[in-house]
Symmetry: D3
Subunit: 264 residues, 6 copies
């Protein structure tokens, strides 16, 4: 690619992936609402608000790929989520439509199915069960991507990210851990495939515990290589086992299911 | 019921159902953004904006049931849809949470699956394929209802309405027609059931053409009694058959699938 | 048929069906552990204990059909259930094997799936979820019938009876009611079919509420004709609506799910 | 329609439907390999061999609809079946391609699934299990229709006919009977639908015994109105019940499953 | 764990696993109807009859985990099976209920599905097809576990054991072999999981031949590591290939399907 | 085996497998319509036409296994396909029936499902969607094999071959490549299994891209060992990526879907 746009570059995912994705394009354009690390070689850093339509159109112009990590990524008030994850997503898809439909990798979340219990193995088309306003906003994002695909041919990989951290740090993450390396190889597959479509892909490594069945997305040729298994002893040493009735033991969304509605 | 709130009372559905639902409660509270017919016996008429949080809390207070027809019901700009169908829905569910969780009948739409083709028979859990911003906003509403059910026990009947008109007026409506009487009997079932949960119900009569399988909702005891069959000759006389490639012949969402994104 | 054996003739089902099945055979042999009404024309009345192997062999001898209503039909102690519903069923199948495999209509129960919730529509092969020792004993009976079919060709209709009473008498029975006439027509179909096999059939009328999908058994040619709908007003007048959290509103097995283990 | 071609007009189906379909077009063109009844008003009678490519092109020219009853309809030698049901079908589809793709109603057969047992309820996409060379040739025909649809947009209704006779005449036909009137209404639906596609439809009336699930084809708006039930007593009086192990009791294809390969 | 109860300690499975499970608890309490090897360090050996309710309550008291290998494990008379596998299981669950619901790993068997053919790949919820009285008794045990889970929250891992031997010794075991090491790692997972529920797990190693799909149980984080493949040559050298019609080639339950009913 | 017949020995597959299958039998009988390489040790070379019934009977006589690569393997005229793939297959199965039913490995093709899109993962029983006359002829072959299995017990492995070449040579083959070694090991499994039945097996290696789910055939004990992954760089260097709308990117059958009907 000539230029790849990465939104949410100052957030957890963004910082984790910034250098790991450097090889994907001649230029990486990085954006966030807040301040980012200074521009390096082959990088463009542009501070912008996803809720600002004109700004988003400027961001997308000239890009032939988008990795969308931007927006709110935890439970917050409706106002905050509305700006970033509802209007922001609309702005992004309109900007893509105006700019030749660059392919999008969209970071959606396991929290769209957070209220399913951990003893169920889900396929991509099991019913949504979002676990908070954040989860609801990601359902909205997936619906938006589907509509732009059906209507305009816009291609998006909807990656329902489990827990993308350098390593798993609690019991639940033994099931949900998504290694940064596996995420990189997935992004590579998404941009390499001759035809992407608009698949839902579970963003999770090849862990022993498995709640999510990715076989429907095997046409893309992606196989995760990492597993949380090598961190199990460390995780179990550092954490007491959650009780059998704790949200972290019961629901796929873990503690998010117990979050209140944030009123401010 | 003591008091039933009907939102969107000035819209097509609202006007069609206003008198038909009069028997459901001692008082019917009617609301809309625009002017409504004057208050009758056993009615309260309150003009209000669903995007106004305080106003919505006032509307819901004192009601033990809600029939939500309110919001935008055709393809419109994101701004209009955002106010009414995103923020408005959030306001409604927050108001219900603050007021003892009155049961809700929520008018969602076949346009959440509008890009499925007409030769498929869908169950409630086939993947969403919204056909425009309006359809996307209804996906959001369904997700919101699911979340409030999982998290707070709020019960909602998600009625994906086909075409609720006095009679079917074109070929597509032979399949999608939902007679007002069948809608009334469904609403009765939803409020009568000892336990409602948060089911997705296809709002459609017992037409000969059937795109939607309601058997999963049979636990509620609802059976449609009307059929579009008696209007077939009239419809065929009044309308030329759409060509085999017209959106009205191809997609379940019909002409909505061909709508552009409304930019203002 | 020459001679039809009806077990459990002194029980609720047995008394309800005794005259209704009189036309099925030249001779009806009636049996129960307790005293029955005196023998009428074309009847043989034989008091016997299903746990007594020799007695059961005598009962079955000379019969070319069996309708098995016998055994415990509510939650009781393990000892009582074991004698009647475990050993008794074994004795029945061994007796049938020794006597030319007369076809059996076996009254099993909705309580084999009693812990499924009322908002699910089950097929015959959804997982069992028995709601007490009684339900567990009926799982055993179904397994026994399956084994004798696979191994020896013994044919059995496993009828999972909902609520077979003259009329429905509470809210749950609006969904589970099985009219005696519909049961008779089902029994006729089971004995008339050239080939029966070992199907699981939901014993329920054509009620508006439907938890159970009988379509897999449509090869037998049985269609229920009755519906609980004509009793709805009477039921609703005579019973307060159960609360949304009562077992009668939540579980298919209703109040059985709340029974304790009977220790004596 | 201006002109409807009916092949196989001298066969059982053809004679049964000839007058019943007279209203479907200004002109009915009738064809068969053998002699037919003389031409009536609005009819054209053309004797022709389906294996003769040029003749078939002539037949199809000028027609805007085809009802294909032609070909071998019982177990015969490979040579006979090959000419009529393999080459003949290829000729028909090539002729349709050369003549503007008139819509086709294709009489395929339950014998494509004849080796499924009678205690299974099949959907249109259960695996084929043909019961003889005739059944295999109908699998071929269905595959041909599918290919011309995918490749050229040719629309075909693949009607897997049960037993289309004036009335059912044995036990098996109580399940498989397809009344001529129901077939007529189905053909009307197929030509009336704005978009037909290439559905598989079970050609069977609304009998009490049901082996075949037609719900996937409900989008066409067809509902059978007849039932074999009113002939049950007559059938049972006229026929001894087949034994439980007879092919007519075991397999959906009945006695066809016991046919040998015809070597001449 | 403080104390783990292992029933059936004198049987094949019990002897194979006794030392392999020594690390699972401070004290291993071993029990059987017959004499066992003398008590070792960290062991308690208690001879007892599972049919004796009081004895079973004593056994379970003070244990925080149970591995239930006890009972009859091959085809025997109904009397023997009834005592051990029906009453014995009831006693075990009642004892667990009275003693704080220690988690149970229950050795059920592939013989609950023994009459399925070997060319089918089963999930945990395919219909049961037991292949003898032993298989029927295991269906009963699974139903009992399900009921105690639904009613009282008792957690059980229902492990349908294939063939747990040091190595596979005939052709069928190439598919059914369950290595003792894989069984140990499964038991570890069952006791380690924060929440177990009541899953059905196929007890089988990662063999090339696979009749059983364990993906639904992947939430537990168990992966078998062994395969029968390394024993294939040895097995094929030592055994003639069974004929294509032998029970060992046709049915998943193998030779058990050909066992008679044991009458004494 | 004593003697294994390989048809189509002069074709691509035949030449690739000739030496690789040499170990399978004492004698390999090789046949083709055209000239083959001269006979080697343990080989018999017999030129013959599959459309010649007597010749095919001679070929099969004395063989206890058949690997059927013969017939047309690309899009050709109906006449050519009819002789080789319709009549030829009939002749082969009749010859097998007359000669003790030697087990058959039948090379069918992914082109029976060629019009499915590449973003779908198919099981063996998804609907056929052949992509040309060649694909239709393979549907016919599969139906014929099924019928001879149901009727006469003839066993066949229906191997739907992806792309069996020494290595993958374009982007589509990264998904469809079937290494010759994997094909050999599959053929070994098919002849080794005590009971084969008539399974549909996807002939494809363990590539990263996966359109076809082989789990239903895992009862045979076959696991592919090769992957196209090691050729990815070479393939991508040698080929431009096909456009997203090219048949090679859209359909599983690739360019075959764009072939015309060959009229001569």
């Amino acid at each position: 690619m000539k230029r790849l746009l990465i939104t949410g570059a100052a957030g957890g995912l963004g910082r984790l992936m910034r250098t790991r994705l450097a090889h994907m394009a001649d230029t990486i354009r990085l954006t966030d609402l807040t301040e980012m690390e200074p521009e390096g070689d082959g990088e463009e850093v542009v501070q912008a608000n996803l809720a600002d339509e004109a700004a988003v159109h400027d961001l997308v112009q000239g890009c032939d790929g988008i990795v969308h990590f931007g927006g709110v990524s935890v439970e917050r008030s409706f106002d905050l989520i509305s700006d970033a994850n509802l209007r922001g997503v609309y702005n992004l898809y309109e900007a893509a439509r105006a700019n030749g439909h660059p392919r999008i990798v969209f970071a959606t979340s396991n929290h769209v199915v957070g209220f399913h219990t951990q003893d169920r193995r889900l396929s991509a088309h099991d019913p949504m069960k979002p676990d908070g306003l954040y989860g609801v906003s990601k359902c909205f994002g997936e619906a938006m991507a589907s509509m732009y695909h059906s209507k305009f041919g816009q291609e998006t990989a909807l990656v329902r990210i489990g827990s993308c951290f350098p390593e798993p740090i609690n019991h639940r993450m033994l099931a949900t851990w998504f290694s940064p390396d596996d995420f990189v190889s997935l992004i590579e597959c998404c941009f390499r495939a001759p035809r992407l479509g608009c698949p839902i892909i579970w963003g999770v490594s090849d862990n022993d515990e498995q709640w999510w069945d990715n076989s429907a997305a095997r046409y893309l040729g992606w196989r995760p290589k990492d597993s949380s298994a090598r961190f199990r002893d460390k995780v179990e040493a550092a954490n007491e086992r959650p009780s059998a009735d704790a949200p972290d033991s019961v629901y796929q969304g873990g503690a998010f299911t117990a979050d209140p509605i944030h009123r401010d």
